[in-house]
Amino acid sequence: MMSSIRILLVDDHELVRTALAERLERERYFTVAGCVASAEAAVQESRTCDPDVILMDIDMPGLNCFEAARQISRFRPDCRIIFLSAFFHDIYIEQALSVKARGYLTKTESPESVVEAILEAMSGGVYFSKKVRDRITVDVKGPTFPTARKTKLSTLTPRELETLRYIARGMSKQEISRDIGIAVKTVDRHCTNLMRKLDIHDRVELARFAIREGVAEP
């Protein structure tokens, strides 16, 4: 007999969490093993609830979801992470691929798509919409997502990009350091580098840039 697929739901909107949990519980082989409201909680919960699949919202306050995915993959390499977002941005797809996500769904897709994505991930595949799938490029380093327009943004390293997202949320260097788990000095270095690369030397302007480029949600 097939054992049930354990799912951890991560979304800061309780309505979304509850609705999704109720829908997934109706599937015979699905068990919602946990529901949490932040990426930090997802890291903690995935240590204890032993999920096969994590469905995680992209834009939540606190720890960045892609960083959380990286942390979870270290101690649960077999756990399949599928991202859910209200938005469809190239930059998110690029980051999702960089953490080896098993799928990317927008919240306008039907609950059946979520079920399909989980089943596809569990059968060794990935779930991306067709227009994303066709554009995925395999190079010598693995799958990547070439963005249509290469902007100044593409010069940033993943860490600098992540730091930019936190700055756009108005977080201080101390808060960023605590959330990612790196030294304040290192955060400071990322800030200096990204300001130099973007030629923007003001936090407010950085936040505006991040929102305009789709790195952070308004």
Partner: protein, 434 residues
């Protein structure tokens, strides 16, 4: 400051200082005047003020866009939950249940709410767009046909469009059709009772940003929507692209149409210009950069969707790459068997080669495993189709074991994988039928 007219008829602005020259009794005897020609300085000041105004306007639009995006984000989450609960409720009830009709109505209302949310997201560039090269003339013609059907007969719609096939634009066709529709609806509202609406589409070699001749390769399409309606005051023109700004009575418009049009055009690298005179009408010009027409598809006409059940083995050492290739081909209708190394591949070939139609093989497996696997395969089935995948730029199809045109070199897109797999299978079926 005073303005003088020269003999040539030109006007100049002078800044003049007048100093009285006094006599020994302290009475003014003469007047010394020193005039400086400040015409150019004044022009520069005016240009600066205009630029500053444009910048303030752009910042205001950006701020409102940010706010609108935030609202839309929240709404989308709520709507996602509503749709999920509606689906749940419908699944729970019998199809003939009295509440089913009410649920359908709730779903309709939620769908409309999603439409408004999507409009807001389009405004703040967050809605998904699908950009491809398309013939703008064809798209505009379709919208004009639609407009003629929906506008009152008292409004005559004239058109003057570039021939089909001449103006290609890289963009989201449905979004740009929405621009035509929004501009036309605005024009309709300006024409109070009866009047004329003219839509034209022409090519221009003038760069709308600099108003000067564009580079040799740069071509622009200019779409004009012109009406002979009530026109606008300069104050209204300055605010017409602000979201929620409307002069229509309450309940007759959201005030989002023109701001969405502006946002879409900007997102497509274009620009909107407005000329209007109160009582005479308005002309809105949308400038869009042209692109080259798409090349004819080089896909084999026989490369149709495959029959379900054709099986492919993917031998790829990188697990994530393998997963993505698996799903890509699975969604094309193929059955996929995926393995990570040559040993597992050999075992699979021994047990189920008859069921397999093709092998997609990583040619860079360690310890020359790819070459060994290929030679084993060729000994038993010399013509078995194999698609090779390699990161080596100069690999020559593994000494002839893989046909040159069936080698995929990294980087490659998934669409190329689909195409080469289709080619290999078509060749196989062609050989069989021959």
């Amino acid at each position: 400051e005073e303005e003088i007219q020269l003999k040539s008829g030109d006007f100049r602005t002078l800044h003049t200082k007048k100093i009285p020259i006094l006599d020994e009794h302290g009475e003014p005897q003469y007047l010394l005047g020193i005039s400086e020609d400040i015409t150019e300085k004044k022009k520069a000041e005016l240009a600066n003020a205009k630029l500053e105004n444009q910048l303030r306007q752009a910042q205001k639009m950006e701020a409102v866009g940010t706010l609108a995006g935030g609202i839309a984000h929240g709404f989308r989450n709520l709507l996602a939950a509503m749709f999920a609960y509606i689906a749940l409720a419908k699944n729970t009830l019998d199809p003939g249940h009295a509440a089913m009709k009410s649920l359908d109505l709730v779903e309709d209302a939620a769908t409309q709410a999603r439409g408004v949310t999507n409009a807001l997201l389009t405004f703040c560039h967050a809605a998904p767009t699908e950009k491809t090269p398309f013939d703008l003339s064809v798209a505009v013609r379709a919208q004009i046909r639609l407009l003629r059907g929906v506008l009152p007969s008292t409004i005559r719609v004239k058109d003057d469009l570039a021939p089909i096939g001449e103006l290609w634009v890289y963009g989201d066709e449905s979004q740009l059709q929405q621009v035509v529709m929004n501009l036309a609806i605005n024009a309709r509202d300006a024409v109070v009772i009866s009047g004329e609406l003219e839509i034209s589409l022409r090519e221009s070699s003038c760069d709308p940003q600099t108003q000067s001749a564009a580079g040799a390769d740069a071509r622009w399409a200019v779409l004009r929507v012109e009406d002979n309606g009530v026109g606008m005051t300069p104050e209204k023109i300055s605010r017409m692209f602000e979201p929620f700004f409307t002069t229509k009575p309450r309940g007759h418009g959201t005030g989002l149409g023109l701001s969405i049009a502006h946002s879409i055009v900007t997102d497509h690298g274009g620009r909107i210009d407005v000329e209007s005179r109160l009582g005479s009408g308005t002309r809105i010009s949308v400038h869009l950069p042209c692109c080259a027409p798409p090349e004819e598809s080089d896909q084999d006409p026989r490369s149709r969707s495959r029959d379900l059940g054709e099986s492919i083995m993917i031998v790829e050492q990188d697990e994530y790459t393998r997963s993505i290739m698996t799903s890509t081909l699975r969604y094309q209708g193929y059955e996929i068997l995926q393995v990570a190394d040559a040993r597992s591949a050999s075992a699979a070939l021994q047990t189920c080669r008859a069921e397999l139609s093709l092998v997609v093989l990583d040619l860079d497996l360690p310890h020359h495993e790819s070459a060994q696997l290929l030679s084993t395969l060729r000994r038993t089935a010399s013509d078995f189709p194999v698609v090779g995948v390699t990161g080596e730029p100069h690999l020559d199809g593994n000494s002839g074991s893989v046909a040159g045109d069936l080698v995929l070199r990294k980087p490659f897109q998934m669409s190329e994988l689909i195409s080469v797999v289709g080619r290999a299978l078509n060749r196989k079926s062609g050989e069989k039928s021959a």
